[in-house]
Symmetry: C2
DNA sequence: GTGCAAATTGACAGCGCTGTCAATTGTGTC
DNA sequence: GACACAATTGACAGCGCTGTCAATTTGCAC
């Protein structure tokens, strides 16, 4: 029925253990033997049974991607990361599973424990904002489960992928400044998320560098959602004088800002400039198309997973890879009225 | 170190096999024994090792969700379905994996074979449009892998979940008719997708019922993407007389239509009404908010998975559950100019 | 009580692979 | 050609669970 490792061994005229060595790419197999075994595997269309490999070898060939389904960013962002992680796992014949991990409440460490005990992933990919929950990272290290992070706050002791979000945010605000804006507002994200802090820091840095004193009224706290963008915009548009540009910490909030502008009959970008961050598909579908920072999410997921896999396969320590960003100037920003 | 089934057995004073029976919810265990074993499992925080269960029991506790990453609908739609499937699997302690399966080319059956041979899912959830590829369904039946479908074209021999899309489309067009529109255009989806056929059929049915002769120029083929909506709109807006309303077969294409309207300086809904289908988050973020058909995607994923799980757990044959839709009248439709 | 069927429980082998460690073969040196 | 040592290969047990089937207990009629 099913072709087993033993069958391959018989055909190649070697012991099962040798086939196992070839299968696992281990050293100490002569080239001749390796070729013979590989040929036999192909001829017989051999597919190792992962449950047997897991049981005997005490590993799962499983990578779990954890995300926060509570305070999570736009689902398109996660979907893209997932896509990249999956591609990387496929390339190395690892399985991938996605696990939501609600970060509200204080028992999320025990929920992490449950995921590990139930599924025994060989490694974990962490997505924002759970890249930064200290107790969770601590537990992961205690249990010695290797992990890689997408956009972690700390660049020390972390492997995965990062982007210089502060510089990206500064680039965006510099763009607004160069158009002539001075009264630039910022809608920030959830306060303790790295993304919020960096993007706010970039905004402040750009404003300070332009010699503009900080006006606290111009910075409004959002929550990365469309609805929070709407609320923030209502607040900002009530200011006197009104800001001439709004930099939202992500595209969903920017779309909320544009919504309110439309509601008030304000023309974007003639009456007010709006820009976002992430470049999710929505950004190009809005009218006018949203000026934003392009973040290569799919690629970032892939790179983070590859770093993890390097560790899992004993190929090296893995590192934190820096990804480039780009400013996508579209139609939602222009000179102030 | 790790608590094994044997340890639980010793503690409960029964044989390992009996603990196994309790674990698998099998019949023929006395209540007293069952209680004792359950208690022991809890006290020891026993977690069965799924690789051992899979190996010995010849099943994987794995549900694979297949999607077409080539002609797939909006990723938000899939993300929602995935979420629902995951919830259902979690509830029954099944694992879930997502697998893209490119449907271009003619070797997709062998790629399906590879997925089955590599991962041995106990069952499969099919998402549109791969719910309808006959050779693939045939192979699944040959290999006796149970599957459930989300929105399959054929209601015979299928379990999973469906929605009366034709009636939904008709409801949408009836809405436009009731506003006074007569020259109503339709942007259809990829021709052989069930979703396209139903939505087109609903459009035709409504038009015919209103006594309007079919004008072939009013039906333009799209591909479910934003870009195809843009192309279709350019074509439709060149007609003389111009249609007063456009019903796009999904929200992404509707947003493309609105984009072109904006580009031409046409006001939605004053100059032209636009509506879509699916109610993805984008629909409420557009200005004006898009009138559309709400499809409970997350719930549909969950229901389809539950039907599959019923089969996998030997609880019954599963059935095709009908889900309700609703017409979401928002701000993109109004009386014709 | 006895006898019999049904319900409950257990003994044991084995799922397909890998870890451990021992056996064998090859290589280089003198 | 003999020796030491490294490289290669294999024998065997066992990972933690479940399927099979036999043993035991229980319930019930008489």
């Amino acid at each position: 029925m099913r072709v087993r490792l033993e069958d391959v061994a018989r055909r190649a005229g070697v012991s099962p253990k040798t086939v196992s060595r070839v299968l696992n790419d281990e050293a100490n197999v002569s080239d001749a033997t390796r070729k013979r075994v590989t040929a036999a595997m192909e001829e017989m269309a051999y597919r190792p049974l992962s449950s047997a490999r897991s049981l005997a070898g005490n590993r799962s060939f499983l990578v779990a991607m954890l995300y926060d389904n509570n305070d999570n960013p736009a689902s398109t962002y996660l979907a893209e990361i997932q896509d990249g992680v999956l591609e990387a796992c496929d390339a190395h014949r690892y399985n991938m599973m996605v696990r939501p991990l609600r970060m509200r409440g204080d028992d999320f460490v025990s929920r992490l424990d449950a995921v590990i005990s139930d599924h025994h992933p060989d490694g974990i990919v962490l997505t924002p904002p759970i890249t930064d929950y200290a107790p969770l990272l601590k537990r992961l290290r205690e249990r010695k489960v290797p992990f890689a992070s997408v956009s972690p706050v700390s660049r020390e002791d972390n492997i995965g992928v990062a982007m210089d979000e502060q510089r990206a945010a500064r680039t965006m605000v510099d763009h607004l400044l160069s158009l002539g804006h001075r009264r630039i507002a910022h809608v920030s994200g959830i306060a303790d998320h790295g993304a919020s802090r960096w993007r706010l820091a970039g905004y402040r840095e750009a404003m300070a560098a332009a010699g503009l004193a900080e006006d606290p009224a111009l910075v409004v706290q959002g929550a990365f959602t469309f609805a929070s963008g709407v609320t923030a915009a209502r607040q900002l548009f009530a200011l006197e004088p009104r800001p001439t540009a709004v930099f939202a910490a992500n595209d969903d909030m920017a779309s909320g800002v544009m919504w309110v502008a439309n509601e008030r009959g304000m023309k974007v970008p003639q009456d007010i400039s709006v820009c976002g961050f992430d470049d999710i598909p929505l950004a190009s579908q809005l009218w006018p198309a949203l000026t934003t920072i392009r973040q290569p999410s799919r690629e970032m997921g892939k790179v983070a997973a590859l770093q993890l896999l390097e560790v899992l396969r004993g190929r090296g320590p893995g590192r934190l890879v820096e990804m480039p960003f780009s400013l996508e100037v579209r139609d939602s920003t222009a000179a102030p009225p």
